[in-house]
Chain length 339, copies 2
C-alpha cells in the first residue's frame, strides 16, 4: 500500500493542502466541520504523516539516544524512567543502548545514534573509556550531549551528577556519630570516578574525626554485588572482629552484608552497623531495613532530558549554548541498620 | 556542514561508488589497501551514512518499538534488557514507551511508533485496554507485532507468555505438600489476565487437594505493592489466626508479608509460610529468603525480538507469516520462607 500524501487528501476533498494540514493538527482557524471531514477521511484511508517527511522539513527526528553502561542495574532503570517521562512531555522518543562498560561499544553506540539522526545524546560513561574523541565529535557537530552520573572532565558538555564524595562523607560521619570507631569500607572498582569519590569521602570523614585509616579494612567490590558483600562480611567476622561498622559503595554489597550477619545471628546494628548507598527499593524491605544515601535517579534522568531540550531550543534560535553543571542533592536515610 | 555522500568520496578517490560502499562495509572482494584509503578519507571527512537514505533504499528503519504498561517495574526492566540484547545482535535499536496501563496512551504510543516507521512493535497490553483495533491495524499494515506477558486473545499475532495458571497451581501445591491447609491468597487486580490466571491456579490447587475455598482469605492487591502485603498480613494476624500460608501474586506483596511477620516476631515458615511469584533479585536477599516462581523476563524479551525478526525476514521474502504462540517454562524456587 502506497502512503497517502497530504496532497491526495486535499485534492480528494477539494481543500487546500494548508487547510488539510491545519485540520489534522487541530488549528483553531479551521472550522469543526472541515476538521471532522478531513479527520474521518484520513482515518478511513489510514493516513500516516510520515516521520521522514517531517524530518526533511524540520531537521528534527524527535528521537534522543541514551547510552548507559549497564542494562541490569536498578539505578539506571530509574534514570531511564525519568528520561522517558520527561521526553514524553515534549513528544520525544527514547532509544536506549548499553555500552556494557566497554569503550569500544560506547564509541559504536554513539556512532549508531548519530547515523540515526537523533537530536541529542544522554550518556553515562563506561568505566573503561579513556579517550573521549567520540564525544567531542558530538560537540563539533553541534549535537547536544548531556552526561549524567558518570562523566568525563575532558568533555565540554552539560552534566547532571551528585556529589559522591560529600554524600559518602556524610554516610561515614553518621556512623561515627553513632559511636562507631572501626569502620570498614566496601569500595567499588578502582577506576570509576564515583567509586573513587566515595572512597575519598570515607577517608576524609576518618581524617576529620581523627580515626586512623587502615587499608586492610577496605575491600574492593569489582561487581558491586550482594555476593561480594556477603563474602567480605564473612572475612570480617573471621579476621577482623574489631570492626563495628561497614560503609558500602552501594546497597547491593550492604544487603549482602546484612544477609551474612543475619545468617550468623550477629545483631545489627548492636554488634555491626551497616550503611549502604543509593536507596534502592530493597533497602527499606529487608530486615533490618538499611540506612543509606538516597540518590535521585529518576530526577537525574529528568534533568538530563530537560537540559538537552533547552540546548536544542537555543541551538534552533542560534543562541550560544551555555553548558550547565548540575549537582543534585542526596539525602541520608536513617533506618534500622544503624539505629 | 552538508553531509558527504558516497558519490563525493568515490569521485575524490577516483573509485566507483560500489567499491566505496563495499570498502566501508568491509567486503572481502575489495583490497585492504583500498579499504584503508576509503576508511581513512571517510573518517577524515566525518562521513556518516545517513539512516534516512538507508531507509529510502531498504524501507527498513532498523528500529523497533516496545510498549510496556509500566516503567517502574522490575519484571519489565528485565524484559527490556532481553529485547535490547537480542536487538543489538541484529543491529536493531529499541525505542521504549510506556502506556502507564492506559488504553488511550497505548493507542497513542502505537501510532507514534508507526509514524516513526519502526519495523515492528513488541507490546505488553495495558490493564485497561478493551478494544484492540489499534493493534489490528498493525496486522493489516503488515507491521510485525509480538505481544509478551500480557496479551489479548482478540489480536491475531505471535505471543510469548508463561502459563500463569499452571505456575500458580504448582506454587500452591508446594505449600499444600509442606502440610499447609489454610492458605491465603494475595491476588492482583481484577482485570488483567495473568492476575486472573494466578487466582484460578490457586483455586484449582485447593480443589484438587480437597481444600475448601474461602473468599475471605483472598485479598486484592491493586498496586501489587509491598505496602499492601504488609497491611493484609497484619489483618491476617488480627482476624484470621488460622491461616498458615500466604501465596502472593508477585514478590512485592510477599516481601511485605515477610517484613510484617518479622516485625511481629512471627516465625517463618513455622507459623506462616510465604510464597511469592516472579523471582526478583530481592527474593533471595531478604531474611528469610523467599520461595517463589522464577519468571524468565530477559528470555521473554529475547524471544519476542527473535520472533519479530523472523517475521520480518519472512515478510521480505514474501513468505506467509505463521504466528507463533510461545509458552516459556517457569521454575519453582524453594527457599527458606516455605522450608
Amino acid at each position: 500500500m502506497k502512503n497517502l500524501r497530504l496532497t491526495d487528501i486535499a485534492s480528494e476533498l477539494n481543500l487546500s493542502v494548508t487547510t488539510v494540514s491545519k485540520a489534522l493538527k487541530n488549528y483553531p482557524d479551521v472550522s469543526n466541520k472541515t476538521k471532522k471531514r478531513v479527520k474521518e477521511y484520513a482515518q478511513k484511508m489510514n493516513f500516516k504523516p510520515n516521520s521522514f517527511a517531517a524530518y526533511l522539513r524540520t531537521q528534527e527526528s524527535k528521537i534522543i539516544g541514551v547510552v548507559i553502561p549497564r542494562l541490569n542495574h536498578f539505578f539506571f532503570s530509574d534514570i531511564i524512567k525519568g528520561i522517558i517521562k520527561a521526553a514524553e512531555k515534549e513528544s520525544y522518543m527514547v532509544i536506549v543502548l548499553s555500552s556494557e562498560e566497554s569503550y569500544e561499544l560506547e564509541c559504536k553506540q554513539v556512532n549508531r545514534l548519530i547515523q540515526h539522526n537523533v537530536d541529542g545524546i544522554l550518556l553515562s560513561i563506561a568505566d573503561s573509556t579513556h579517550d573521549v574523541s567520540h564525544l567531542s565529535q558530538l560537540i563539533e557537530q553541534k549535537i547536544p550531549l548531556v552526561m549524567f552520573d558518570k562523566y568525563s572532565k575532558l568533555t565540554t558538555c552539560s552534566t547532571v551528577v551528585i556529589n559522591d564524595q560529600d554524600a559518602a562523607f556524610r554516610a561515614v560521619e553518621h556512623l561515627i556519630k553513632k559511636g562507631r570507631r572501626n569502620i570498614a569500607h566496601f569500595r567499588g572498582p578502582l577506576l570509576p570516578q564515583n567509586s573513587i569519590d566515595r572512597f575519598l569521602g570515607f577517608r576524609r570523614a576518618l581524617d576529620e574525626y581523627g580515626l586512623k585509616y587502615r587499608k586492610e579494612w577496605v575491600f574492593t567490590c569489582d561487581e558491586i554485588s550482594s555476593e561480594e558483600g556477603y563474602r567480605y562480611t564473612e572475612e570480617i567476622l573471621k579476621s577482623h572482629p574489631e570492626i563495628d561498622a561497614i560503609f558500602a559503595v552501594a546497597d547491593m554489597p550492604a544487603v549482602g552484608a546484612i544477609k551474612c550477619l543475619n545468617t550468623h545471628n550477629i545483631p545489627i546494628p548492636e554488634r555491626i552497623a551497616v550503611m549502604g548507598f543509593s536507596n534502592w527499593k530493597i533497602s527499606e524491605l529487608i530486615t533490618p531495613s538499611l540506612s543509606t544515601i538516597d540518590q535521585p535517579g529518576s530526577l537525574m534522568g529528568q534533568k538530563a532530558f530537560e537540559i538537552f531540550y533547552e540546548e536544542l531550543q537555543n541551538k534552533k534560535k542560534n543562541i550560544p549554548i551555555k553548558h550547565q553543571q548540575i549537582t543534585l542533592n542526596t539525602d541520608l536515610i536513617e533506618r534500622e541498620s544503624t539505629n
